[in-house]
Amino acid sequence: MKKIIIAAAALVLSLGKLHAFCGFYVAKADAKLFNKNSQVIIARDGSHTVITMSNDFQGDVKDFAIVVPVPVVLQSGDIRVVQQIIFDKIDAYTAPRLVEYYDENPCRVYDRLMYAPTSVKSSRADTERMVMEDEAKANGVTIEATYTVGEYDIMILSAKESDGLKIWLTQNGYKLPEDAEEVLDPYIHDGTKFFVAKVNLEQYKANGYSNLRPLQIQFDSPKFMLPIRLGMANANGTQDLTIYGFTRRGRMEVSNYRTTKLPTDREIPEFVQHQGLFGSFYTSLFDKAWRSEGRNSVMLEYAWDISGSQPVKCDPCPAPLVSFRELREAGVWWIEGNSWGDGYTGELFVTRLHARYSRDKFPQDLQFIATPNRQQFQGRYVVRHPASGPFDCEEGRQYQADLKRRKRLEVEELVALTGWDGSKFGWYFGGGEGKSGGVGFVEPLVSPDSAQSMLAMTQSSDSGLPNDDSVGKVSGTLGTGSDAFIARAQKSSTKSLGARMVIFISALGLLLAGLLVRKRIPQIRAGGPAVRP
């Protein structure tokens, strides 16, 4: 029996566009920049955070630069480059998935397997030439540190005022978007530093990579947040951000916005499986859900306990399990490897959040909390393939009647989830015997808005078998100084009493004090209006 794997994709890929993470991309030319979809991995335990920023930089712009607000000055051992492939792996693993089932002909008995899908590989960015810029200081801007890590030249800046920072960036020929100051000022007043990275052309050529690799930073700070407000500065409309959160005990949640689950476990018509329609199905579903929640909610796409001891690390599994080395590459420092293979020991929970934000609905940066919430969630959509005939028994005929009803319900479900025009799908349950996508299949007319995203999905669709070769493995040479990086993380997450425990003990102290000295407290004020019975 041939294993048919269905492609399921969660990312909307915009080809030929620039993506910016929490910083903003500033360009030399006066090009209009669009921030579409970025990905970031956050690993958090205690007050230590590791953030990895996917680099989807594409396009013709000569100069690349990223500005990311960070809470402290980073040391050189706190920065490294990692491989882009970890994003592909984690994305594939956590993406909403399409699952197919095959009905049994009630008059026959067949051997059936459950099929698990895989996600679509993202297309790679084109090679960009980067030009190294000279450093220039402006008034009030202090260059706290300078490093070269991988193919990047990195500087950590602190500024006294946004004018100074603006001048410095402008002197380098970068035009700031109009609204950037509105956001730079609060960061500067809060003592936030700015992590600036550009490409070192010589290193870039010497390394032989054809793409820009993701940057990964770590720091100790009680702050647990993503500074998305800066990225809104040069945004037109909305931006998408997919966040993969790795924590120890349970889900990572957003604390200052609502987190909503996407509709899941729905049965949808067969034809969604074909011609890359699942991608546009999902983007429409997401869009509709996001709108119906008031456009100010972060959507939950996946939450799963993937601790080392967990036997069921996914169900169904759209991609190979994320290995120990890949998790270490992603910045998860508290797990330990097994002596054999890619396994690991230690507690681990992965949360996938998808935020679509705009300036008007998201006035604050995203703040997070690590909760002990261990409820698992996945985006799962089901296609049932009808059995093939002949149906020459009583149950068979009953099955055919039920099938027609079921197909109608599937279309209703599809319309409810995506907002597509249901009248276009009448042919699906119109008549005829149940055939799995065979004769009589007509390409469904889809709504115009999803046509473009459907195009994007089809172009990047890859319906090959998901084996390690196709998705790729993390190669032997991990990022620069990777062991040192992880070692620093392990050292820094020390156990402390915890603020809450201190508060609790203080409250107890106050209670005890109150009980002990109560009788000796003099009365300062007394009286009040007489009580009416």
Partner: protein, 264 residues
């Protein structure tokens, strides 16, 4: 005169339903049932032991609804524990027959601190303005019956005032940054329903002002110095609650009673 607790039960109940059906909270019906059932049961046991009337079950009902709305747990046993702590604390941590900690407050603090199984979701309400209105109006109505509006107002003035100064003037964020904070449902619920518990707050008006300002200031400090994202006001109230022991001595005043309190 109406018992203010009836209104509280009504409004808390509707908030719970709103959260579950409109906001799509993930809920385990079992946990809710256990919380409500355990609260009532424990209250019943203590009431029988102390010879109290069954009207005290109303307070237990209010506590259970507050727990259902605010506290989230994985395992049902934690839900039962929280309920037991909430009601038990009323009888076990008492001074001169007045309990020291708001039951929901202490249950949240102890379970989030000592079990690895409980948490508060501050973002569960979102920030729609309609909600602000709803919670605020509902809260006001209840408080008018109960008469502890001054605590809410002083808390708001302190906490929101400090937040506004910091966000708007000191840091320079645009106004909607602060407005977003003001419309957080968890903070509003705390403002109108938790801190205003008439039994666990001081009696004298002057003392109440000191109390609320202290909670507001401490909540601000916890948020921005300790970076507590979930429940800074809850913890602030917990720390300040024992001060009623001092304040009720310094400022002598008649104590609150649900039955005899005149509705203002």
């Amino acid at each position: 005169m109406a018992d203010g607790r009836h209104f509280q039960i009504l409004y808390l109940g509707s908030f719970l339903l709103f959260g579950v059906f409109n906001l799509g909270w993930e809920v385990e019906a079992l946990n809710f049932l256990l919380v409500v059932g355990s609260c009532l049961l424990v209250q019943l046991l203590f009431a029988w032991y102390h010879g109290l009337s069954l009207t005290t079950l109303k307070s237990a009902m209010i506590s259970s609804l507050g727990l259902c709305i605010l506290l989230k747990v994985n395992h049902p046993s934690t839900a039962v524990l929280a309920a037991a702590v909430a009601i038990g604390s009323k009888f076990l941590i008492q001074v001169e027959k007045k309990h020291v900690f708001n039951p929901v407050n202490i249950a949240i603090v102890l379970t989030t601190l000592f079990t690895q199984d409980a948490w508060v979701s501050p973002g569960q309400w979102g920030s729609d303005v309609a909600l602000l209105f709803f919670v605020g109006a509902a809260g006001l109505m209840v408080l008018l019956k109960v008469g502890r509006l001054d605590i809410s107002l002083w808390f708001i003035v302190t906490f929101f005032g400090l937040e506004m100064i910091r966000s708007l003037f000191y840091l320079g964020w645009p106004a909607d940054h602060f407005m977003h904070f003001m419309t957080n449902g968890t903070v509003l619920l705390f403002t109108f329903f938790m801190i205003t518990d008439p039994v666990t707050t001081p009696n004298h008006p002057m003392a109440r002002i000191l109390f609320s300002v202290a909670v507001g200031a401490l909540a601000f400090v916890f948020t921005h110095v300790l970076y507590m994202q979930s429940g800074a006001p809850i913890w602030a109230l917990f720390v300040v609650s024992p001060s009623t022991l001092f304040l009720d001595r310094l400022f002598a005043y008649k104590r609150f009673s649900w039955q005899t309190h005149p509705a203002r």
